[in-house]
Amino acid sequence: MAKKVAFLQGNEAAAQGALYAGCKFFAGYPITPSTEVAEVMSAELPKIGGKFIQMEDEIGAMAAILGASLTGTKVLTSTSGPGLSLKQELIGYGCIAEIPCVIFNVMRGGPSTGMPTGPSQSDVMCAKWGTHGDHPAICLVPASVQETYEEMVRAFNLAEKYRTPVMVMPDEIVAHMRERIVFPEQGELEVINRTAPTVPPEQYKPYDTSFGDVPPLAAYGSGYKYHVTGLNKMQDGFPTTKAEIVQAEEERQIRKVEANKADIMKWEEYLVDDAEIVVVAYGSTSRSARFAVNEARKNGVKAGLFRLQTFWPFPEERLLELSKKVKAFITPEMNLGMCHGVVKGCIEGNAPVLGIFRVDGEPINPGQIVDKMKEVK
C-alpha cells in the first residue's frame, strides 16, 4: 500500500510527529512563529482523548506540561525565543526533578522581542545555558519538514528514555516552509515509553539509582505516592544539603546524557571523506551549505558538509578528528557565531574556522558560502 503523502508546513509536521510519538497533552501560549503547533494540537488532541490547554503565560505552559507528565502522560509545549527565555527556570526544574517533556522552540530574531517573523539560529546556546545551574541538555535541530516530523518522534523517545526535557529547535524557515512529507506507518518508527516501576509502592523511590542512571518513574495516581521537588534531593525525592549526595546526584543527571551521547547525537557527513573544506551547518542554513558544497565540487574544490542534526550534545570528538586533516572549517549561521565558538572550542586550534554570521532576518545564501571558501588558503 502506498504511504500517505502530504504537503505540510514544518510546524504542522512537528505536531503530527508528536502525535505519532504518543503525545497526549499540550500546554502552550500564543507566540509567532510557532503558534501553528498549538493550533494543530488543539484540533487533534481531543479527537484521541488527549488534552490541550492554552495557559495564561509561557511559564504556566511549561509548568502545566511538567505537572501533566508526572501523571504518566507524554507532553509537549511549543514556543519561540522570548517564550524560551521565560520557560528557563522550569526547564531547569524538569532537569533536576527528571521529568520527561518536549519543548519545541522555533528560532526567530532576538534578543527580546527582536524580529518575530524573521528567521534566526540564535537560541542554540540558550538551549544549553539558558537555565541556571549544571544540567543535561538535549537539543535537536531539524533541517526539513520530513526531518522535523521524525526528530519530534525521536525527541519524545529521548525524553522518555533519559527522563529529561528535550528541545527541538528549527529555525523559522524550516518551521514555516512547506514541503512534501511521507508519513511513516504505524510501527515503522520506534516509539519509546518511560520505564514504570516494578517494585511495590512502599519500596519505591523516584530516584533509585540501583536501577541505573535513569530510575523508573511512577505515574501519579497509579498507586505510588512519592515526593517531587526542585531542591537538590536524595533518592527518595526529599531535599538534602548533604555534600556527597548533591555532588553525586548532579553528576548522575549530567551523565545520563554524556554517557549516552552515541545514542543521542546525530549528524550527517556529505562529501566529507576527502574534503579539505568542511562546512559545519544546521537547520535551513545547511541546505544552502549543501548547495554551496555541490557548486564548489563542480569547480574542483574539495568541499564537504557536516550537518548537525543534534546541537546538544555536540559531536566534539568527530570534529576534533576531522580537524586533523582539513584545511579549514566554515560555520555559516543566523547568529553572531554560536556554533562557530563551539567548533573552535573542540578542535584544539588544528584548523582555522571561518564564520559567516547573519542576524538581519535574511537566510544565508549559497553564494556567500562559496565566496567564503575562496578565502581558504
Partner: protein, 272 residues
C-alpha cells in the same frame, strides 16, 4: 479516641521546618482532618505547592506531593488535574507565593473554575527569606524591606479570588483551629475552584517587627479581628472597621473546567 494524624503523615519526615509559634502546623492538622472527613484516597490525591515556608507542607503528607517552583503551584496543578481529572488536587502555599509571583496563575485557575482546592496560608510576610513585605502585608507595617513602614496597599485575597471567578471562597484563622477542617472539607467537596484563605502568624519575621510581644498576643489579635459572616450581617460599618470576615464568603455553581473539556473531547470525536 484522639484523632490519628500519623496515618496521613509520611514516616520519618517530621519534625517540620516551621518556627515555634508559626501557625502553619495548625493548618496542616486542619487539612489532615478535612482529608479524613471527606475520605480522600491518598494514592489519588496530589498536594501541590510553590516555594516558601507554607510550601514545605506537602512533603510531610503521605500523598502524591509536588513541591514546584516559586509561584507556579497553580500552573503545575492545572497540568496534573487536566491530565488526570480523576485525581483530587489540593494546592498549598503562602500569600507571597500565591498572589505576587504566582498571581497570574492564581487568577486564571479561579477563572477556569478547575476542580481543585487552594489553601492559602496568609501570614502577611515572606517568612523563609527573612521577612520582606508581601502583597498581603498591611499598609504601614514593618518588614525587612519596609523599614519606614509599608507604603503598599494590601490585597484582600478572598475578594481577589471571588473577582477572578473562584466558585467557593472561605476564610478562617489559625486561632479558630476547629473551623479550619470544616472549611477545607467543604472546599474539597465543592465542584470547581475553591480557595480557603487561612490567616496565620509569623512571630519570627512579622510579629517581632510589629510590636507583638508574644505568640499569644498574635493569636489573640486574630481572635479579636475575626467576625463570622453571619454575625457581620447585624453589625454597622463602624463596628466592622478593622475586622475581617470568616466562614464561607462566597459559593456558586458554574461549569467546571475538566468537565467542560470532556465535552470538547466529545465534540471533537463526533466531528472526526
Amino acid at each position: 479516641m484522639a484523632f490519628d494524624y500519623d496515618k496521613y503523615i509520611r514516616p520519618g519526615k517530621l519534625p517540620h521546618i516551621w518556627c515555634p509559634g508559626c501557625g502553619h502546623g495548625i493548618v496542616m492538622k486542619g487539612l489532615i482532618r478535612a482529608i479524613d472527613t471527606v475520605g480522600l484516597d491518598t494514592k489519588n490525591t496530589a498536594i501541590v505547592s510553590g516555594i516558601g515556608c507554607a510550601s514545605r507542607l506537602p512533603g510531610y503528607m503521605d500523598c502524591c506531593t509536588l513541591h514546584t517552583a516559586h509561584g507556579r503551584a497553580a500552573a503545575f496543578a492545572t497540568g496534573v488535574k487536566m491530565a488526570k481529572p480523576e485525581m483530587d488536587v489540593i494546592l498549598v502555599g503562602g500569600d507571597g507565593d500565591g498572589t505576587a509571583i504566582g498571581g497570574n496563575h492564581f487568577i486564571h485557575a479561579c477563572r477556569r473554575n478547575i476542580n481543585m482546592t487552594y489553601i492559602i496560608l496568609n501570614n502577611k510576610i515572606y517568612g523563609m527569606t527573612g521577612g520582606q513585605f508581601s502583597p498581603a502585608t498591611p499598609t504601614g507595617a514593618k518588614a525587612s524591606t519596609t523599614p519606614y513602614g509599608n507604603p503598599d496597599p494590601a490585597f484582600d485575597i478572598a475578594k481577589l479570588a471571588i473577582g477572578a471567578g473562584a466558585t467557593f471562597v472561605a476564610r478562617g484563622t489559625s486561632f479558630h483551629a476547629n473551623q479550619i477542617d470544616k472549611l477545607i472539607a467543604e472546599a474539597i467537596q465543592h465542584k470547581g475552584f475553591s480557595v480557603v484563605e487561612i490567616l496565620d502568624d509569623c512571630p519570627t519575621t512579622y510579629g517581632r517587627r510589629n510590636k507583638f510581644k508574644s505568640v499569644v498576643e498574635m493569636m489573640n489579635h486574630l481572635k479579636d479581628i475575626a467576625v463570622p459572616v453571619k454575625a457581620a450581617e447585624k453589625m454597622s460599618p463602624e463596628q466592622l472597621e478593622g475586622k475581617i470576615l470568616t466562614g464561607v464568603l462566597f459559593k456558586e455553581e458554574r461549569p467546571e473546567y475538566t468537565s467542560e473539556y470532556a465535552k470538547v473531547i466529545e465534540r471533537a470525536k463526533a466531528a472526526k
